[in-house]
């Protein structure tokens, strides 16, 4: 009995910590993005609210929350609001299976720094990922606007194509690790002394592209192409409801998919890897905190890479995006799976 209560409390604490971190960081990433974008564009960015605009996300949030809640005439209010929930919840749920670091002992209790280590973790990730399409389709449909509808249809088309691609892309690491559990995949990489990116460069590149497409980042941001569709499926949302969609798409989803990319390809919390030889840890002096820092570092590097692309490139057209998915990326991933299957036994030994 006591064990169950303890487990419940532990889980609750984990949920709170993860949610707080994810949503808090999500909000502050808006500031980071604006700063990075500003410096790419040779301007200072937000400077007024707080030191170097440090309180800007709070001011933005306050502004968004206090705005009038507008609702389009002849829209479907239930679906309109449901779309918000459908967008936020699956994106946040992905973090349930993200391992932030190795198991550690706290007051004689072994704690895994992840919400739950299910043995089909990756399956969950991609199941939740495909849920995003419902949110977008609902948002476009319930808004009763042609622009929103076109935007949501575009996005749905992209998500459907890239779900296939991304699933095939992660097959490589799964074959190498022989497990679907995210925690185990990292453990395997540490045991085999090999980041899977060394053996799966193709899959990694395809994964990154698919990640950009799924999260609607440049060069795949066709669903909210300002010039054509104003802001696509969010056009009829206002206030914080409007703010939630970019928050979910651009920050929480990018974060979660980057974290999964780190887990799959970059060895999770392990330090710098020299293939088949071992690990070098320049941060050894941090002791037990070093793995966590490595994880954060890798995720932020991927996130900055996404930002860098976002503020540099123009965007593709929708037909070109889906064409790339089906005609280029899918064949590449298929070839990659075959190759992996051939040399996987070598790695297992």
């Amino acid at each position: 009995m006591e064990g169950v209560v303890f487990w419940l409390i532990l889980t609750l604490v984990k949920i709170l910590v993860i949610l707080a971190i994810v949503l808090g960081i999500g909000a502050y990433l808006t500031l980071l993005e604006r700063k990075v974008a500003a410096h790419i564009q040779r301007r200072p960015g937000p400077m007024v609210v707080g030191w170097h605009g440090l309180l800007q996300p709070l001011a933005d949030g306050l502004k968004l929350i206090t705005k009038e809640d507008l609702f389009p005439r002849y829209g479907n209010r239930f679906l309109y609001n449901l779309a918000l929930v459908m967008a936020l919840v699956p994106a946040a749920l992905v973090f349930a299976v993200v391992p932030f670091g190795p198991e550690f002992e706290l007051f004689d209790v072994k704690v895994k720094p992840m919400l739950t280590d299910v043995n089909v973790g990756l399956l969950l990730v991609f199941a939740f990922g495909s849920m995003a399409v419902f949110a977008i389709a609902l948002a476009g449909w319930a808004s009763n606007s042609k622009y929103a509808l076109i935007g949501s249809m575009r996005k749905a088309g992209i998500v459907v194509s890239y779900e296939v691609v991304i699933t095939f892309a992660v097959m490589g690491p799964i074959i190498l690790a022989g497990t679907l559990s995210t925690y185990e995949i990292v453990q395997k990489q540490i045991q085999q002394e090999l980041w899977y990116v060394w053996l799966q460069p193709l899959a990694f590149v395809v994964y990154m592209f698919a990640m950009l497409a799924e999260t609607g980042r440049v060069p795949f941001d066709v669903q909210e192409a300002e010039a054509e569709l104003v802001t696509g499926f969010t056009v009829e949302y206002g206030g914080m409801k409007f703010g939630l969609f970019p928050l979910v798409e651009w920050y929480i989803e990018v974060l979660s998919l980057s974290a999964i990319a780190v887990v799959l390809f970059l060895g999770g919390w392990s330090p710098i890897n020299i293939p088949f030889l071992g690990f070098v840890d320049p941060l050894f002096f941090l002791g037990p905190f070093s793995p966590f820092l490595w994880f954060v570092l890798k995720v932020s590097l991927l996130f900055l890479f996404v930002l860098w692309l976002h503020w540099t490139l123009p965007r593709y057209r929708i037909d070109q995006i889906t064409e790339t998915a089906w005609k280029v990326m899918l064949p590449i991933t298929l070839v990659n799976i075959v190759l992996t299957a051939v040399f996987a036994p070598l790695v297992w030994e």
């Binding site: 974008a37 249809m153 060069p219 300002e226 010039a227 054509e228 104003v230 123009p314």
Partner: protein, 572 residues
């Protein structure tokens, strides 16, 4: 001289009975009977090589019978000659839509403004006004203040039942304005729905670069057919021109193509000078200053185009880079002329004031620095795979289409037609400076992009040469023309009392957005009798529905931005 000679058309006098040839320094015109008009235009297009349609409208003479004099301005690009065809009509004309599509839009405008009926016009709807509008505004009997008939209650009265008392209660009498019902009637009349949904793209939409209203009939994302509804920015500039003195009208040219005010100023001033025949009197210094400023303005305008174009295709950073450089140019222009957007710097006979001290140094510094910036943007865009995929092969315009749709400016040059008025009929200092005219090969969006980029470089070359020419001139050199006989011709900075003798001319300048032409008909006096403005943007836009057919919505922004229309100039 840009005008064709009367001898060129001698052989036509036998074929067309009653054809009168008129040759003056300011114009060459062929007068023909209405019945023979279409045949003459066809002969001119097919046999004489006058393939490029420039403009068409009518001049209203309420006292004469027949009442309207119609004119068609045509251009022979190969031989660099221009001719005007004229005819008289009581209220109807044959449509030239079989010969030039551009004529279709000109005729719609003429129908809208004068009520001329065009026989055989496929889609004779009003160009700028709404369908339920009763009057023809450019006719001479239309009062300048409009018809004060409509009573417009304020929102407070409608919603709250408020009745304002005392000073607040003024009679709200207005010229009639379109109501929502009017606009719906207009919308229905323009497009027969053939596909799934009709998307109202505009009038207030970030992608349309102004208040333009597009109707897309969509099948999925594919545009089945497209139509444009203009007139959201219509201010009746041509009507105003008839009631303003020549120098006073200058400020309205600023507000037409508000992104290239200096070029429009220059075009208008040169047109009036040509009509007066004082082009030679304008001092060299004024000509160099005008040319230099117009080229700076051209770079300025192209920078805005580049920025918004990149923004439309998703490259937000280039937008800010371009605007940063544009800001510097704006500062230079502000330092010299005192204004940033609506400039009115030129005057008939010169410029308003001399260059301030240090202006040339600043310009030289800009000229030195700018190519580096340009090269950096090019490295970000020109060879970018995404950029190429979005641009190459999109919106292809062939050479024949350039003539058929009356396209000018970078759009024509992108398709390989070297139609550049700065070369073809040099005005101001363009004859004295050395520059190249870039032309494209395929006529797609990418070629127009490259042409505009190269034009910026050529503009820099012109500016450089103007600067060195101006540096050689003494500080005391005159910047304003002196009238040889002040009693006959009164030239002054404010332009008051400038009387223009009877006559007419068509003169045009090379604007960043195509040829900006002015047809001025003067019956003597201080005000023009009729001014017809040829907006380059409008004729460039008329090819848009054709280019959009079977393209997706994402191409709409790319194609529209590559045509680069400015609504202030289209609607006037």
């Amino acid at each position: 001289m840009p005008w064709a000679k009367a001898e060129d058309f001698r052989d036509l006098t036998q074929r067309f009975e009653g054809l009168v040839l008129e040759e003056k320094p300011s114009i060459t015109a062929l007068h023909v009977q209405k019945a023979k008009l279409l045949e003459l235009l066809r002969v001119l297009k097919q046999e004489k090589g006058y393939k490029l349609f420039l403009d068409h409208s009518v001049v209203d003479f309420p006292d004469k019978d027949p009442r309207f004099q119609a004119f068609y301005v045509l251009y022979n690009v190969d031989e660099r000659k221009r001719v005007v065809v004229k005819t008289w009509t009581e209220g109807s004309l044959p449509s030239v839509e079989g010969l030039w599509f551009a004529g279709k839009w000109a005729e719609r405008e003429c129908y809208d403004m004068f009520g001329i009926r065009y026989e055989g016009h496929e889609n004779l709807v009003r160009a700028f006004m709404w369908e339920t509008y009763q009057h023809y505004p450019l006719r001479k009997d239309f009062p300048l203040e409009g018809y004060p008939t409509e009573y417009l209650p304020s929102l407070n009265e409608v919603v709250w039942g408020e009745s304002l008392q005392g000073l607040m209660n003024y009679d709200r009498m207005h010229t009639s304005v379109p109501t929502l019902e009017d606009l719906e009637i207009t919308e229905r009349k323009r497009l027969q729905k053939k596909a799934q949904i009709v998307l109202n793209w505009g009038p207030l939409h970030p992608g349309t670069h102004g208040t333009m209203w597009f109707l897309f009939d969509l099948e999925g994302e594919r545009v089945y057919q497209c139509d444009v509804i203009l007139g959201q920015l219509h201010r009746g500039v041509e009507k105003l021109a008839e009631h303003e003195m020549y120098n006073q009208f200058l400020v309205y040219t600023d507000r037409m193509d508000y992104l290239s005010a200096l070029c429009s100023n220059q075009a208008w001033v040169v047109a009036v000078e040509r009509l007066l025949g004082i082009e030679e009197l304008v001092p060299e210094k004024a000509k160099y200053i005008r040319t230099m400023m117009a080229e700076l303005q051209r770079i300025n305008s192209h920078l805005l185009w580049l920025g918004t174009y990149a923004l439309d295709l998703g490259a937000i950073t280039v937008f800010l880079y371009a605007f940063k450089e544009r800001e510097k140019l704006m500062d230079i222009i502000e330092g010299i002329t005192g204004a940033r957007l609506t400039i009115s710097y030129t005057r008939i006979g010169g410029v308003r004031m001399d260059l301030p001290e240090g202006a040339l140094e600043v310009i030289k510094a800009f000229v030195k620095r700018f190519p580096k910036e340009l090269a950096e943007w090019e490295s970000m865009l020109s060879r970018n795979r995404i950029w190429l995929r979005r641009n190459v092969g999109v919106g292809v315009i062939s050479k024949e289409e350039v003539y058929f749709y009356g396209l000018t400016g970078p759009v024509a040059r992108g398709s390989g037609v070297p139609y550049d008025l700065r070369k073809f009929e040099p005005y101001d200092a363009y004859g004295w400076v050395d520059f190249d005219v870039p032309v494209g090969e395929n006529g797609d969006v990418y070629d127009r992009y490259l042409v505009r980029l190269e034009e910026m470089r050529q503009s820099l070359r012109i500016v450089e040469q103007c600067v060195s020419a101006l540096e050689r001139m003494p500080k005391s050199a005159p910047f304003f023309a002196e009238s040889p006989d002040p009693k006959k011709l009164k030239l002054s900075l404010d332009g008051i009392g400038l009387k223009v003798p009877e006559g007419e001319t068509y003169s045009s300048g090379e604007n960043p957005r195509g040829e900006l032409g002015f047809y001025i008909y003067s019956t003597g006096g201080v005000k023009p009798y009729r001014v017809k403005i040829r907006p380059g943007s409008m004729y460039n836009l008329c090819v848009y529905p054709k280019l959009m057919k079977d393209r997706v919505v994402a191409d709409a922004v790319a194609i529209l931005a590559s045509l680069d229309p400015v609504v202030g100039e289209i609607d006037r």
